[in-house]
Symmetry: C2
């Protein structure tokens, strides 16, 4: 259940009155994510006042769940020392995200307050681009030497388990920290106390290269149903691990991104203001608007054609619209195909196939539309040939562009969903208008 | 890495020649999902011949990864007894999916070959709708009485661990099988051998109601960063568990579904034939086509208006297009918002806000388009007022419908993404044309 409006009201009231005991009482039994949701619902001023009431353990988990907006609100009033205490307690991947978002100076000051190890961990994570395996991995993990016994490893887990969440796997590394095997926790339980890791480890574990793009990392987890995977550098040295809960967030992020891109939206605007909503959406709309204006100039060029056969105007929306429909369908298929790991699909055969689909669909709707035009404008029968040709061209072209362009953008290392963006759809419209009225000019006069 | 074409060719060749040793040699070191991908790439006939060479352990994991098409190919030639041996070895959720897809008679025969417990597990899973928690949970789990000691539970795990994948959690149930707590595996390692479950368990665990929709289950996993969750009935009795790897698949499925729905595609067609591609996409295209035809009839009604002011035709694409753009943007925002768990958002305030966004954007583009029309058609200045009014109406209406309809469908227990379907976009086009030419008729003559 998301937070209740009544709870938020009550909490807001307690904060204004400064009734700390009531507040702490309210927090009893709430999970960190639920507290984070409460904070999101508070006004800016109350967020900071409320957050300082949390103990460090809770605060470090809650802050990882906050939106960057609310996070700024709670961090702003905090001393560097207090912030460092919270960062110290966070998982290294979340801590790196937080420190990475701070102003450079403050980040320096906070890092200086940390233990040398924690500071090193965070700094080394900040080196990696955010959307790669390195950018999402955490440094905390249980590693052991091949000669370590089950008993020794259990002792290590006992020492570290409060600092490491989700221990499912022991990573076995040699003296140079090269990963040589993995031991699932359950095998630790089932083996004799004096067995060594070398005796019970799985060899040849699946690993993630540190530079791998996060979307590919997600596909790896999906393909192998993995819960947690080790991240290694080019030499096979163990650098960190990624747990599937972060993958779940990434998948949602990527799916939302693709979907918004397809629809010409850019980010989650539901909670933003009207003006912010409008201004974020203007660029995309403006490009299409420019395209529309261009189309209207073009149509004006053909004004004499239209004035002689006014019926031509009647079919403009359907010819452009059907091209647009086929184009969007095709882009969605290809974008999703690429995103879900079919990126190595045979490019040429898919383009050819989708071209075939476009021509087939185009021809079918051409015959139907031709017949309608034929009966609607019995005095000018050639109009039916014009619309039939135009809709075939419009749908085939859309099918080709809708297949070819996402692949092209993908090969150029751009987001394939750009193919559904305003430049492309606008270009399609203009080509459609030109084809339609051009054919009309040629055939009718 | 996906399968290599050269490997597939080699394998196909070995199968045709019947070189079994070469084939088995090739399988060495391949993971089940990789073998499944090889099977997908084979021709229909070879699939069955290849599959029988796998040992039962491997076969039961591979078959769970196959598409329903390839699965049929490998199952068809198999005896009921052989199939039952594989089903027996599968996880209960995968086994239930497989048995559920068989013809009723064959399903009965296969179930009759299973042990009574396995048969019961599968039958009880088949009761639940596929897209609910019950439909995706598995029955295999480790459960223990509150009085059971760590040593006893470890002995149980030793007995069962070959049959149960991914043991992360021990579920503590009372005599009536009501769930009373959970013990993460790591706590088992860290506790004394004679501690009881009651002493070390976490109370009040997060649970999934068996009837919960799978999309909501996914949101629960996401919200609480869960790896595995127990499924309970209305009385709190433990029925099964869901692991996050299945959630990852569901999230991908749902995101693809939403995206395809938004684009008017229905399923993954990349690997289907041209004809199948075309025929699957026809219904959606046909409805928009009907809408386009209707629009062309409408425009014909206004023929005398257009023939007097031919310039009106020039702005038709931009007015309809901008409405369509705003509508798609808005639907994408709302659909994604609902899917990612913002379903309890304040409906009224979001509709009002998006209406505001539509009016604001509409007014802005109206002024710009009005100016262009003013300079483009200096002889008929009222045309600029007509296009300005029409684009405002078209964009505001699209914004309202794009917000209101997904919520409406959601409340009616339909997929919110239907709002981007052909009926809605077509209706929008027709309203747009009517508004535009209607205003023109009123203001220009």
């Amino acid at each position: 259940m998301p937070v209740k409006a009544t709870d938020v009201k009550l909490l807001q009231d307690y904060i204004e009155k400064g009734w700390e005991f009531h507040i702490i009482d309210m927090l009893h039994d709430l999970k960190p994510v639920e507290i984070a949701e409460l904070i999101e619902a508070l006004d800016e001023e109350s967020r900071g006042k409320f957050f300082v009431l949390l103990d460090v353990d809770t605060a470090s988990e809650v802050i990882a769940e906050l939106s960057s907006e609310s996070r700024e609100d709670v961090i702003d009033g905090m001393s560097d020392k207090d912030l460092a205490r919270i960062v110290q307690d966070m998982d290294s991947d979340d801590a790196a995200d937080l420190v990475g978002d701070l102003h450079a100076e403050r980040a320096e000051r906070v890092l200086a307050e940390l233990s040398p190890e924690d500071s090193y961990d965070i700094k080394s994570l900040l080196k990696y681009p955010e959307d790669t395996a390195g950018g999402i991995m955490q440094r905390e993990l249980i590693s052991a030497h091949p000669n370590a016994t089950v008993d020794e490893v259990i002792a290590q887990i006992r020492r570290l388990h409060t600092e490491i969440n989700n221990i499912y796997m022991v990573y076995v590394v040699d003296n140079r920290r090269a990963l040589v095997g993995t031991v699932p926790l359950v095998n630790l339980i089932l083996s004799k106390p004096d067995s060594t890791m070398a005796q019970i480890m799985d060899l040849d574990p699946l690993t993630v290269p540190v530079a791998m793009d996060q979307e590919q990392v997600a596909n790896l987890f999906k393909r192998y149903d993995s819960m947690v995977l080790p991240v290694v550098d080019e030499q096979g040295f163990l650098l960190g691990r990624i747990t599937v809960d972060d993958i779940v967030d990434i998948m949602e992020e990527e799916a939302t991104e693709d979907m918004f891109m397809l629809a010409g939206a850019e980010e989650d605007l539901l909670s933003s203001s009207v003006v912010r909503n409008a201004s974020t959406r203007i660029p995309w709309l403006f490009v299409s608007w420019m395209g529309g204006v261009l189309a209207s100039f073009l149509i004006r060029e053909f004004e004499s054609t239209i004035s002689r056969v006014v019926g031509l105007a009647a079919f403009m929306p359907i010819i452009l619209g059907m091209g647009g429909n086929v184009g969007t369908q095709t882009v969605a298929l290809i974008v999703r195909g690429i995103a879900t790991g079919a990126s190595s699909m045979n490019f040429r055969s898919i383009v050819l196939k989708q071209m075939g689909v476009g021509v087939l669909l185009g021809a079918m709707f051409a015959v139907m539309l031709g017949l309608i035009a034929f009966f609607l404008y019995p005095d000018e029968k050639r109009i039916s040939i014009v619309v039939a040709l135009a809709i075939t061209i419009s749908m085939s072209l859309a099918s080709f562009m809708g297949t070819f362009l996402p692949f092209l953008f993908y090969k150029l290392d751009k987001d394939p969903a750009i193919a559904s963006g305003p430049f492309v759809t606008t270009t399609m419209d203009i080509l459609g208008v030109t084809a339609y009225l051009g054919i009309a000019g040629l055939l009718l006069f």
